[in-house]
């Protein structure tokens, strides 16, 4: 059973809400609670309006929600902006310095709308010796209100500052204790979280970090990138690990250089990964075709954001499905993996590296801003349980007979690395003969096309089937791919609790598709609804094309925000007694 609260930290860019948010998140995770963080920000460095939403509680939490139980408003504007989302008995933390008339009016209005909303006027200036300590104040108060053990926050603060100036630990601890104590004295009735079971240590990871970890675990040794939100984080995480874990990360002069560098590195034996977003991916299109033609393993991470063109650079969308499917001129196989959670980010990136080597071609891991910035608590990955990714052979017995593109049954030729023996590895972007040299022989051309396309058959052997959650047969089947898993899953669960027979089909690999794996399920459902974050229903189109199946309807969102379960329920237009189960089970 799931019980949860939604804490929203809101303010301007540059006010440090990510710092408060991360401290609170870690404290919650260490105290044994589930967490799910969604972040919203604008394309600017200071000012504007950012949010850091911490949904926390017990039981599996797989998505954010709109309704706010605890609003930590770092500026006045935040109250106005989020008033409508406050639950009946929400609590609002504001800096008592904002207590001018306008602020009071804001709060009053909020109170009128939902009479039990309460406001806690926090004397930040009194509790902290300076602005830089405000996040510790917020941490102390929020942790106390939620009922977290002070030992947890104390340890956290110690760890955070121990590597900085000596007296910082003490100063921060003082602020923490004062704030915790202050919160304890407030009459504000905010029901703490239910007691948590003991739990093993978990990592607090966002999607991009999980991708970087997956890549490292799979032996990625080279990353070339050109910065682009929301994918930059993947490269930054690899960059930070580069020295210790022995890889080369290079910021290229542009995206075209990035993808071609990666292909050069992969050719020479370094498993290579390239993170980017839609616009950068568009520029890599020719390079992807080169990966296809030269049969060079390549992993691309496509973190989507709303387009076309620059679009909304810091928001989320699932609008690049068709681009990923068909990027690159000419015809060649590819695989596209679409993780639906932070954990899947890790596992599917790991799988992608292996798949790229096995199929000797491009594999795309597709996320979006929502998932890239989603933070979840996950148990440390069991490295021993991971399969060892395939690596190219480095030598052969008859080096002089070696042909990089030898015809084989399954289309996969033995891949040797250059410079590791007397054999020569010849790679060509033109049509080529088995030995890799340019040819204009049209009979060979045809055989080479067939050889390359045969690898799609090979890819089909290892397709990750869509995961299904629900009873054997469902009345209503929700279909989703990638990051929409979380909200769709919660929506399905809510409906199931209402007694409806609802299934959920989540595609974590959207290419190639193997209709045998899911067509029966689609056919058996009375109603099929495809939930995806774009305006034209791209995945529904793919199902029509590949499985000959037309879904009953699509639920689409394309305003830059991710789905929540509420959105899906609203669009399903189902009169549901309970707004969201969390409200009920929290019993207030």
């Amino acid at each position: 059973m799931r019980v949860s609260k939604n804490i929203l930290i809101a303010g301007e860019a540059g006010q440090g809400l990510v710092t408060v948010g991360m401290l609170l998140t870690k404290a919650l995770a260490r105290s044994g609670y589930e967490i799910f963080i969604s972040q919203g920000y604008e394309s600017r460095i200071r000012g504007g309006h950012n949010t850091f939403a911490v949904r926390t509680g017990l039981g599996s939490i797989r998505a954010g929600v709109r309704d706010v139980d605890l609003l930590i408003a770092l500026n006045r504007e935040s109250i106005a902006l989020h008033r409508a989302e406050l639950t009946h008995d929400a609590l609002v933390l504001v800096d008592s310095e904002h207590d001018d008339q306008a602020a009071k009016d804001e709060v009053l209005e909020a109170d009128q709308k939902a009479p039990r909303n309460q406001t806690l006027h926090v004397p930040f200036a009194e509790l902290a010796p300076g602005k830089v300590y405000h996040n510790i104040v917020a941490l102390g108060i929020a942790a106390r209100l939620l009922g977290l053990p002070e030992s947890v926050t104390t340890t956290l603060v110690k760890e955070t500052f121990v590597r900085k100036k000596a007296d910082l630990v003490e100063k921060n601890l003082n602020v923490l204790h004062a704030s915790t104590a202050w919160a304890g004295k407030q009459a504000a009735a905010f029901e703490p979280l239910p007691e948590s079971p003991k739990s093993a240590k978990r990592m607090v990871l966002d999607g991009n970090q999980a991708i970087a970890l997956g890549a490292l675990a799979a032996g990625v040794r080279f990353c070339a990138f050109y910065p682009m939100t929301p994918a930059t984080g993947v490269a930054l995480n690899l960059s930070n690990a580069a020295r210790d874990l022995g890889l080369v990360v290079e910021q290229a002069e542009d995206e075209i250089a990035a993808v071609n560098m990666a292909l050069g590195a992969s050719y020479a034996g370094a498993p290579a990964l390239v993170p980017t977003s839609g616009g950068g991916f568009a520029l890599m299109t020719e390079g992807i075709s080169l990966a296809g033609m030269t049969e060079t393993p390549l992993v691309l991470v496509l973190g989507q954001r709303p387009g076309p063109a620059t679009g909304l650079p810091t928001r989320s969308e699932q609008g690049d499905l068709n681009l990923a499917l068909y990027a690159g001129h000419g015809e060649f196989p590819r695989a596209i993996l679409t993780p639906g959670s932070v954990e899947e980010c890790f596992r599917l990136t790991h799988a992608a590296v292996d798949l790229a080597e096995r199929s000797q071609g491009p594999v795309i891991v597709m996320t979006d801003q929502y998932l890239a910035d989603t933070i979840q608590a996950v148990p440390p990955f069991d490295l021993d349980m991971l399969s060892e990714p395939l690596r190219p052979t480095r030598n052969c017995d008859e080096p002089h007979d070696y042909n990089r593109y030898a015809f084989t049954e399954d289309g996969v030729s033995p891949r040797l690395l250059p410079g590791t023996g007397e054999h020569l590895v010849v790679l060509d972007s033109d049509e080529h003969d088995e030995d890799g040299h340019i040819t204009e022989d049209l009979t060979i051309r045809k055989r080479m096309v067939d050889k390359r396309l045969a690898k799609e058959r090979k890819l089909r052997e290892t397709i990750l089937a869509p995961t299904y959650i629900g009873d054997e047969q469902s009345d209503l089947l929700l279909i989703c791919w990638g990051s929409t898993l979380g909200p769709a899953d919660e929506a399905a669960e809510i409906l199931r609790k209402e007694g409806r027979n609802v299934g959920l089909l989540h595609f974590r690999q959207i290419w190639p598709l193997l209709p045998e794996q899911f067509l029966e399920r689609l056919r058996q459902a009375r109603e099929t609804v495809c939930v995806e974050g774009n305006a034209t229903g791209q995945f529904a189109g793919l199902l029509r094309k590949e499985a000959g199946f037309s879904v009953s309807r699509s639920i689409l969102r394309y305003d830059g925000l991710p789905f929540t379960a509420e959105d899906i329920l609203r669009e399903l237009n189902i009169e549901t007694g309970q707004k969201l189960e969390s409200r009920e089970t929290m019993g207030r």
């Binding site: 542009d254 480095r394 250059p418 410079g419 340019i438």
Partner: protein, 284 residues
């Protein structure tokens, strides 16, 4: 020790009389003189007539996309610093489509030898202006004359503080072989821009045209002196100096900034589980 014969001998798709033939011979000689065996060499090229060169050599080949030889070469060299990496392509490929990579390569200083067959024209696509086509020269695509000023790759390389910059001439293959040999020996990025007559499409910058103009850079030229180098680099008119224009042995290579590359190639290393575990712990 490998001989020139080890680098093979192939039928080409070039026009009879093309300057590419002697460049190929010079290259084979330089490779042999450098004591390299075919499997130690990686030739990276783009697309164009010049870019076909690697197919006419026994060696490892990455014949990639038009304009993208440098990034591919950079990736390969960083993945395996033990490879002897050459980039071979035309002027259009190297300075036109690939202009941004040329700038970046000069800034990086990866230990790569870049050979540009500079025929001042787009050969394979049949005679459009390239960046090095002279201002005003009429071509099929520019019947009124090329409207842009010609690119001087050698001057730009010197301006970008390149470590090794030379200009060669296809009509002087021994001299050229020596330049390539020196460029390869240089620890860092080395550019050899090679004047190459295209008998099919460039009727201005012919063999005779070059022959009349080229002169050997005299012994007393000090390539370590930037100003002297710049003065020579800018000469491209009635007289065109050939030889080593610039040599700055003090620029550290790109590779030297990556401790991980001091341990050799990146392949065959398995992920260090202990370190990965520590990394995971840092997220707890």
């Amino acid at each position: 020790m490998a001989t020139m014969k080890d680098f093979g001998s192939f039928e080409t798709a070039w026009c009879p009389g093309c300057g590419n033939f002697s460049i190929l011979e010079a290259l084979k000689k330089a490779l042999t003189d450098s004591g390299l065996a075919p499997h130690q060499v990686l030739m990276v090229s783009g697309i164009g007539q010049a870019a076909k060169t690697p197919h006419y050599l026994r060696c490892n080949v990455f014949n990639g996309l038009h304009g993208r030889a440098l990034p591919a070469a950079t990736g390969a060299k960083l993945a395996n610093p033990e490879l002897h990496v050459f980039v071979e392509s035309g002027d259009g490929c190297s300075y036109g489509e690939g202009g941004n990579h040329f700038l970046a390569a000069l800034r990086r200083n990866v230990d790569i030898t870049m050979l540009v067959h500079d025929n001042q024209i787009y050969g394979l696509t049949k005679g459009q202006a390239s960046p090095t086509t002279l201002h005003g020269q009429a071509t099929k695509a520019q019947p009124q004359g090329a409207p842009s000023q010609a690119f001087n790759p050698v001057a730009i390389a010197v301006a970008m503080q390149a470590g090794f910059v030379a200009r060669g001439f296809a009509g002087n293959p021994d001299h050229l072989a020596d330049l390539i040999h020196q460029a390869h020996a240089f620890p860092g990025f080395a550019l050899v821009d090679i004047l190459q007559p295209c008998v099919s499409f460039n009727k201005v910058n012919t063999f005779a045209w070059y022959k009349e103009r080229v002169w050997d850079i005299p012994e007393d030229h000090d390539p370590a002196d930037w100003n002297q180098a710049m003065t020579l680099a800018r000469q491209f008119g009635d007289r065109i100096p050939i030889g080593v224009i610039r040599r700055d042995p003090f620029r550290p290579t790109f590779e030297s900034h990556f401790p991980v590359l001091q341990e050799g190639p990146l392949f065959g290393r398995t992920p260090d589980r202990a370190k990965l575990t520590r990394l995971m712990e840092s997220y707890m």
